[in-house]
């Protein structure tokens, strides 16, 4: 392996392929899996991500944690390999496995060297994990205990307590608001994992994304290899519509020196027509790091917090809009007042023309920074593939940003962030 690597490295030094565009190829495998592919031959690396419509939104109401456990136990035993053989084979190829389950997706990522023996061994292993996991009961038992230990510890931490309470409060009765608990994990049995896997890890629920040092023909073969033994299955059933929460303020007592404050509501989905106005507007409000309004008001002017931000996380259904900060508990109310005032002013008046100009400068001039590594390209391609966004999404991004007006921002924010639906969670308040 080392000699082949050496050759790859020498090629690299001579390569000069500065590019600001990403060409995405797309096709569907015979079994019905969607594939998205970007060929880039500079580094001897291949990155693969397989996303299934098998995230925690598909957890049964009494068993939150099932999607996550199913995903994390894919490598607990598969085919005729036990977990020690699986980890050994993986390590011997130099490959890295990753991924987890979020609300919509269960993801598995593979990063491997592109040299043939390593690549083939790694792909063969992933194929076995995806298609023939056997979820051994003893491993499940151990992993449940580890997960429960993690939950118990997390339930002592203000950031984790607040984040779970916030999601539950803004998604009342909706699976986006569920989270794994000691009790729900305790109820999960091996049969649950087997059923979840056979129902949801199917070809038509799968999106395969491939980026790196291989040809289109090799990518086609790779995608087939990963998905051809999966049951075809049907289309993913729709995740329930989100019902907006009623305005409320929740205070959770805690001993911490800092209050953790969360403000927000469900606000934007993937492919949302308001995506670009909300993106540009949020950069101005609290997304643009050191230059955002929230950072200026809360941190720069008053020294109230080290970190303060606003953030949209689009999902299949309306994903959360969240403002977050941590501040000394004695000044929590005062800091929250600054956040409320800043948000209210933004909702009422929108951004200034100068702010809009600066936001566009950053988002447009800096666009190349979003796609300057294979890893970053993979993240975008997987998102485009899983959510079925247009293949020219990345090409259009700077152009769409350029078109946004301050009136559109004000309009989109006023429709999506309605005060009557805003939830505030304060952990360790004054």
């Amino acid at each position: 392996m080392m000699k082949r690597l050496l050759i790859g490295m020498i090629c690299l030094a001579a390569a000069s392929l500065a590019q600001a565009q990403v060409k995405i190829e797309h096709w569907t495998t015979p079994a019905g899996a969607r594939v998205h592919f970007v060929e880039t031959r500079v580094l001897p690396i291949i990155d693969v991500q397989i996303d299934f419509a098998a995230g925690s939104a598909y957890d049964p109401a009494d068993k939150p944690g099932l999607a996550s456990l199913t995903r994390s136990l894919l490598d607990a035993g598969a085919g005729d390999l036990d977990e020690e053989k699986i980890s050994g084979r993986l390590v011997d190829t130099g490959a890295r496995l990753g991924g987890s389950a979020d609300d919509d997706r269960a993801s598995l990522t593979l990063r491997t060297l592109s040299s043939k023996p390593e690549r083939e061994a790694a792909v063969e292993l992933v194929r076995t994990l995806l298609q023939q996991p056997n979820f051994p009961a003893a491993v499940l038992d151990r992993e449940k205990k580890r997960l429960i230990a993690g939950i118990k510890e997390a339930d002592t931490r203000p950031a984790s307590i607040g984040s779970k309470r916030f999601m539950a409060a803004i998604y009342p009765g909706h699976p986006y608001g569920y989270h794994a608990t000691v009790e729900s994990v305790g109820r999960i049995e091996r049969d649950d994992l087997v059923r979840f896997h056979s129902a949801y890890y199917t070809a038509r629920r799968a999106s395969v994304s491939i980026v790196g040092d291989l040809s289109r023909a090799e990518a086609e073969a790779l995608a087939i290899r990963l998905t051809d033994g999966l049951p075809e299955g049907g289309e993913a059933e729709p995740i329930p519509e989100v019902v907006l929460p009623q305005r409320e303020k929740l205070r959770i007592p805690h001993h911490a020196t800092q209050s953790h404050i969360f403000v927000g509501l469900p606000a934007m989905r993937r492919g949302d027509p308001d995506f670009f106005p909300l993106l540009v507007g949020n950069y101005i409000l609290g997304g643009g790091g050191f230059v955002s309004r929230l950072t200026k008001e809360v941190r720069e002017k008053r020294g109230f917090a080290y970190s303060v931000y606003s953030h949209f996380q689009p999902y299949r259904r309306l994903g959360p809009f969240e403002i977050g900060l941590q501040t000394k508990r004695e000044q929590a109310e005062e800091a929250l007042k600054v956040v409320d005032t800043t948000l209210a002013a933004f909702l009422e008046k929108g951004p200034t023309e100068d702010e809009l100009k600066r936001a566009k400068e950053n988002l447009i001039n800096g666009f190349a920074l979003r796609i300057d590594s294979n890893k970053k390209i993979l993240d975008h391609v997987a998102m485009i593939g899983f959510y079925g966004l247009p293949l020219d999404y990345l090409d259009r991004y700077p152009k769409e940003v350029a078109k946004v007006t301050s009136a559109q921002i004000r309009d989109a924010f006023s429709r999506r962030i309605r005060p009557e639906n805003l939830v505030t969670v304060i952990v360790a308040g004054s």
Partner: protein, 439 residues
Amino acid sequence: MAAAPAGTYEKTLSNGMRVIVKEDRRAPTVVHMVWYRVGAMDEVDGTSGVAHVLEHMMFKGTRNHKSGQFNELVAAAGGRDNAFTSLDYTAYYQQVPANRLDQMMALEADRMVNLIVDPKEFSKEIKVVMEERRMRTDDKPQALVHEALMATAFQAHPYRRPIIGWMSDLENMTAADARDWYRNWYAPNNAYVIVIGDVDKDEVFRLAEKNYGKIPRRALPPRKPLGEPEQAGIKRLTVKAPAKLPYLAMAWKVPELRNASKDRDPFALEVLAGVLDGHDAARFAKTLVRGSKIAVSAGAGYDGTVRGEALFFLDGTPAEGRTVAELEQALRAEIERVAKEGVSPEELARVKTQIIAGQVYKRDSMFAQAMEVGGIEAAGLNWQDLDTVIEKLRSVTAEEVQEVARKYFKDDALTVAVLDPQPLPEKTEKKTAATGLRH
């Protein structure tokens, strides 16, 4: 195997500032970093945290730019910027489109000589730093354990002080403390520039000369040798904090990397850490988490690339029903097993495979490559040593790994820190319908 291959170049400006350039033409972007050879280890008692506070103040205005303008100009260029302070160094970076490098250099050169530490700005920013300390340390039980572990393992060496600073020192810090720090240490001859991206090396050298070359060299304060007296006996400490699970961290004093060509033991220690916890099939995961199930998690770590003194860490959380004492025994038994039985050729090969693959994967990130160059330089070695480091890691033998496991893991050089979890007071949630507040 080339970790710092053809494509990396260096030039020293007449004022002593070094410029290191790596051409990486995959995307039209560049990462620009300025590293100062000064960190928390150069502080003295009473002003712990001042290196990091000054790092914050570097964004708060110069004779040419008002407070916050630095960030605004980087943002307008389409860039991202930040800075970080370690025990050994303080570094500043921007990731920008490649055609903005000149402007970034002009901004960094400006704040290298023209910083104003305004008392009003300072009084706000010191509060931000105190919030940062609360967030990173005071409300995080495991971080408190690590802070106490360092403060106990070292009794004289400045690594005993936390980078963020003790809260009492932050409460009493003044703008003058930060200003003195800046005047003492921020000079071109105490800094180096790293540029990696879609650039031509000669053009970068020209821009560096233009922007940084005119800044005069200054005499730096003498750096005194900072010896830690030899530890003579095990040290144990307990931290009580509200938490659910206990936690154990152990640290042995071990050699650091000083001469990449001549040293052997630091490389053997790094491979030992890899055998114990370098990958999914490593011993801790296999034996302690999956096998005996004594631990929920267990880790091993060694970083010999330091300006001060190196430690070899083991840490972990016991499984429910098991104690930290049992976990400590199990972790020690793993070291003893290597000392007695050595490691297999297969285990050695696996660690080396991870190192080599990791080198290839690292090339996907210009930022990671710049960090690698900056880190080894900060430890007093040279970026050219990166090649040697990889060669040396690949040459480590099973006997050498066994030998370091025998040699360095004595109780006399050990500090053991334990988190003793305290129950959280039971309290109930309060709800208000939140009337009266308007948006």
